[in-house]
Symmetry: C2
Subunit: 103 residues, 2 copies
Amino acid sequence: MYRLTVLYNQPTDPAAFDEYYTSTHMPLAAKLPGLRSVAVSKGDTLDGSTPDVYQVAELYFDSKQELMASLSSDEGRAVSADVANFATGGASMVFTDVTELPL
Amino acid sequence: MYRLTVLYNQPTDPAAFDEYYTSTHMPLAAKLPGLRSVAVSKGDTLDGSTPDVYQVAELYFDSKQELMASLSSDEGRAVSADVANFATGGASMVFTDVTELPL
């Protein structure tokens, strides 16, 4: 599987971020061609302080080719353009070809 | 599941990083109490440029409590102390309570 991880930094208004993410951004992302699964989780800290990373979204595709085709589609461009509408703390993307290693 | 993600920035010598990671760091990490699974993957870019994030390691535990106990154990302290021995580009940690969202 090929994965796009989006790391959202702490936004200025977390409640507004959550509302927009759920009502608008997730439905847009769900339309991405070739998207196989999504995992969304909140950043955390061990000492109770505010985490730098507020939210992590992981989007899985069958291959890098599938992901590239998806991001360059109309749906992909709409999702990318939407990030600026709510990611007030900024966001960074990490691309990985996921390999699970047994212990 | 509770996850610790370690994002390793591009090291000064990737080959040396890989050698040390496989021969020394992974065996130390495999001894972490309560560690349920590990996924290690290389960072990538879509345009062929050098990625900022060289490698991503994901360590899964049953709960935040299990992870905290693991990191504060002798084995956990040894793993944490070892990072400085090879992560020449630096590393950042992200903690997340993983929630899988269906499409």
